[in-house]
């Protein structure tokens, strides 16, 4: 008897393609997506978008002070650092625009601005950081440190593993020894904060080492969070938006499924034989799902405000705009899938696959900044990514609604396009 039960279920499984898909294909697909995200198996290693600013201008000299002009090596060193940073593989250097480096970081055009400044008789770096990317500041700090080293010691290993032709053998040997002592010191943890670090502020990350290792001095690098310093819970808006959008999609596809239920039990026949038309029906469902989605997301963010300190009230205008267009796009997506499928079973399987895939690629599950360039670009085909970018602009970057143009545009176009496609697909149910 037990075997009979097993046999019946095996035979049912053989005839149910969607169950095959969910049992065997979807887990492998998701394993692959997350493996690609965390091993960066597709495309290039993620590069941090930076903007470079060199504030180390030569000191204006007068004819009486020729000695000072001759000894001012800071601009030259700064230029060497800039050059090394431009060549660093982990960085994507964005051209600085008129709005300025800090504004570029605030708007999300760059993740970090590297500003080289004069500090006493040397070069220092200030990293104007967007704290939402928890990895970028550490990567950039390391790369800036290396650029400083390379600028100080032309004989040390360069980016391509070779040595500078300009360095003499003696200089190179001295540099290597000093560098060795420095690395040894770092490894024993004898790095201390400099006095200047103390004034860097609670939201900056001082990074400096004191000590003289021959010609080596630890570079002075200050990391200043220009975004997120006033947030009581910096990442909560990202998670609230990510989870809200994912469940918005599930809710919308489930709501769209009502259309298939109505078709299967002939309620659709009855509805369409009344004064109702297919246009009325689809638009009615679309408005309902959009309204429900708005309420769903609003409840999520209200809870985030009360429980986790998210500043919803202070961003109400941008939040409402993003929520309405995101809910509208999700509703259209739900209706599109419903009209695409023949049965509720098909819809359930397809929606699970699509929603989870879009959520994984679009940043609802894993922040997109940890993904490779290729996966990040692929994520732009999901509207999770556009919705999350919009919420990020509203809650993280504190940008006004006028800056939401691209996100609102893409989501509205998606909402309209999918609704039109739904209408076209529903023609087959209207008359036959």
């Amino acid at each position: 008897m037990i075997w009979q039960v097993i046999e019946i279920h095996l035979r049912r499984l053989r005839h149910n393609r969607m169950e095959w898909l969910l049992a065997f294909v979807v887990p492998i697909a998701f394993f692959s997506i997350f493996a690609l995200i965390f091993t960066r198996g597709v495309g290039s290693t993620p590069r941090v978008k930076v903007v470079l600013v060199n504030d180390c201008q030569p000191i204006e000299s007068t004819g009486d002070d020729l000695t000072h002009t001759v000894l001012d090596l800071v601009p030259e060193k700064a230029e060497r650092i800039m050059e090394h940073l431009r060549q660093a593989e982990g960085l994507r250097v964005m051209p600085e625009t008129d709005e300025g480096a800090e504004t570029m970081v605030r708007r999300g055009s760059a993740t970090i601005a590297i500003v080289l400044t004069r500090h006493e008789d040397d070069v220092a770096a200030r990293l104007l950081n967007d704290a939402s990317d928890e990895v970028a500041s550490q990567v950039v700090t390391a790369l800036v440190t290396r650029a400083f080293m390379q600028a100080d010691f032309p004989g040390t290993a360069s980016e391509d593993g070779g040595t500078s032709e300009a360095a003499s053998d003696d200089t190179a040997s001295e540099n290597q020894n000093a560098f060795g002592r420095f690395v040894s010191t770092l490894s024993t943890g004898e790095v201390s904060r400099t006095e200047d670090d103390a004034i860097a502020g609670a939201n900056s990350v001082p990074f400096a080492a004191a000590g003289d290792f021959g010609r080596i001095r630890m570079p002075k690098i200050d990391v200043v969070n220009v975004l997120g310093q006033s947030k009581s819970n910096p990442v909560i808006s990202v998670y609230a938006a990510g989870i809200a959008v994912m469940f918005l999609l599930f809710g919308a596809t489930n709501g769209g499924g009502m259309l298939l239920e109505e078709r299967e039990n002939q309620t659709l026949e009855r509805l369409l034989s009344s004064q109702m038309t297919m246009d009325h029906l689809l638009l009615g469902k679309w408005f309902y799902l959009t309204l429900l989605g708005c309420v769903q997301v609003t409840i999520m963010f209200v809870w985030a405000q009360f429980a986790f300190g998210l500043d919803l009230v202070g961003h109400l205008d941008g939040f409402l705009m993003m929520t309405v267009v995101t809910a509208a796009a999700a509703s259209s997506f739900g209706l599109f899938l419903a009209t695409l499928c023949q049965t509720r079973g098909q819809l359930n399987g397809l929606s699970v696959v699509l929603v989870l895939t879009m959520s994984a690629l679009g940043g609802s599950m894993v922040p997109r900044y940890v993904m490779s360039e290729t996966l990040r670009e692929a994520g732009l085909w999901t509207f999770n990514a556009w919705a999350l970018d919009g919420y990020d602009k509203v809650f993280w970057r504190d940008l006004p609604p006028s800056d939401l143009g691209p996100q609102l545009g893409v989501l509205m176009a998606t909402a309209f396009g999918l609704l039109v496609l739904s209408r076209i697909l529903a023609i087959r149910w209207e008359y036959s």
């Binding site: 039990n265 002939q266 026949e269 009855r270 369409l272 034989s273 009344s274 008359y431 036959s432």
Partner: protein, 320 residues
């Protein structure tokens, strides 16, 4: 403006095909019939005969390939016709997570009822279905018969002139069937013309004024039950006389001479006869049987039924 003189439904040379070329399937092949005002018409046929396609064409849900349908004298796609038509699908086409009252109100609104008129109609429907005491319960919790009654009520909330019912009693017990037909009778008394499809031939025979039988997309017979009998198997009754002994060969001729329609087969224990005047012919047969020395075990008299007419017209072969 809906004409007051025309038939409720007039179908002329209706044709509906699906697919093209060699794979083309003909669902309706020149169907023509009329539903008169105030009439109850049964539209019968074996599976695949085109009944559902016909209902869909009448409700405007399928566009015929050719032919014409008028409802109260107006083309079926005319704006006025939708409110004149009520549809009760074969499935329970209700929202099971709404209450009876909410379902009735929802479908009433879809047909243009508002406020006082809507409230009146909902109350009428609750009384009509006998579900006034269950008005605020979810339809999903109801029995099959109760759901059928609500299903029917939702189709007539707007008091349509013509009601289309696609197998309204499928899957319900005899008591519920009786209740549903008494509801339909009441509706018909109020002037609603009714067209129904069903596989319960006894329902069609007893509850409908006229019958249309279709097969392979064509009308094979139409008329009242008596007219169908005249057109097909006639009104003769079939009599079976069961004997306690098997028939012998030598006296068969004497029995057979009673009537040309008496079948007597030696070796069998039954005599079969067709009789048009049973009051005179049956006593004569019984006398002959007793005189021949047989003892009668049982007598069975069968009146011709729609079942016989249906099988006579559509054959015994399976259609699925």
């Amino acid at each position: 403006m809906i004409s007051s003189l025309s038939d409720a439904i007039d179908v002329r040379d209706l044709r509906k095909t699906y697919g093209r070329g060699a794979s083309q399937q003909v669902a309706l092949d020149g169907v023509a019939f009329q539903l008169r005002r105030g009439e109850r018409l049964a539209y019968l046929g074996p599976n695949g005969a085109g009944k559902t396609t016909m209902i869909r064409c009448l409700s405007g849900r399928t566009r015929p390939s050719s032919g014409e349908i008028t409802l109260m004298g107006q083309p079926i796609d005319h704006a006025d016709t939708r409110s004149a038509l009520g549809l009760v699908p074969q499935e329970i086409a209700l929202y099971e997570d709404l209450t009876t009252r909410e379902n009735l109100a929802a479908f009433g609104r879809l047909h243009g009822l508002r406020r006082r008129q809507l409230r009146q109609q909902v109350q009428w429907a609750l009384d009509w279905t006998g579900l006034a005491d269950r008005a605020n319960e979810l339809v999903g919790t109801f029995s099959g018969g109760m759901k059928r009654r609500v299903n029917l009520a939702c189709g007539v909330m707007h008091e349509p002139s013509v009601l289309l019912l696609d197998e309204p009693t499928v899957g319900v017990d005899p008591q519920s069937r009786q209740r549903i037909f008494s509801m339909l009778h009441e509706l018909n008394e109020r002037g609603t013309s009714i067209l129904l499809t069903t596989h319960h031939l006894d329902e069609a025979e007893s509850q409908c004024d006229r019958i249309v039988i279709v097969d392979a997309g064509r009308v094979v017979a139409a008329g009242s039950f008596d007219e169908l009998l005249d057109q097909t198997i006639g009104i003769d009754r079939t009599v079976h006389v069961y004997l306690r002994q098997r028939l012998r060969g030598h006296d068969n001729d004497a029995l057979a001479r009673l009537s040309s329609s008496v079948q007597v087969r030696p070796g069998e224990d039954v005599i079969q006869a067709r009789m048009s005047e049973i009051a005179m012919e049956l006593p004569r047969l019984m006398d002959a049987v007793l005189e021949a020395g047989y003892e009668v075990r049982d007598v069975d008299v069968q009146s011709p039924s729609l079942h016989h007419v249906f099988l006579h017209l559509t054959g015994h072969g399976l259609r699925d």
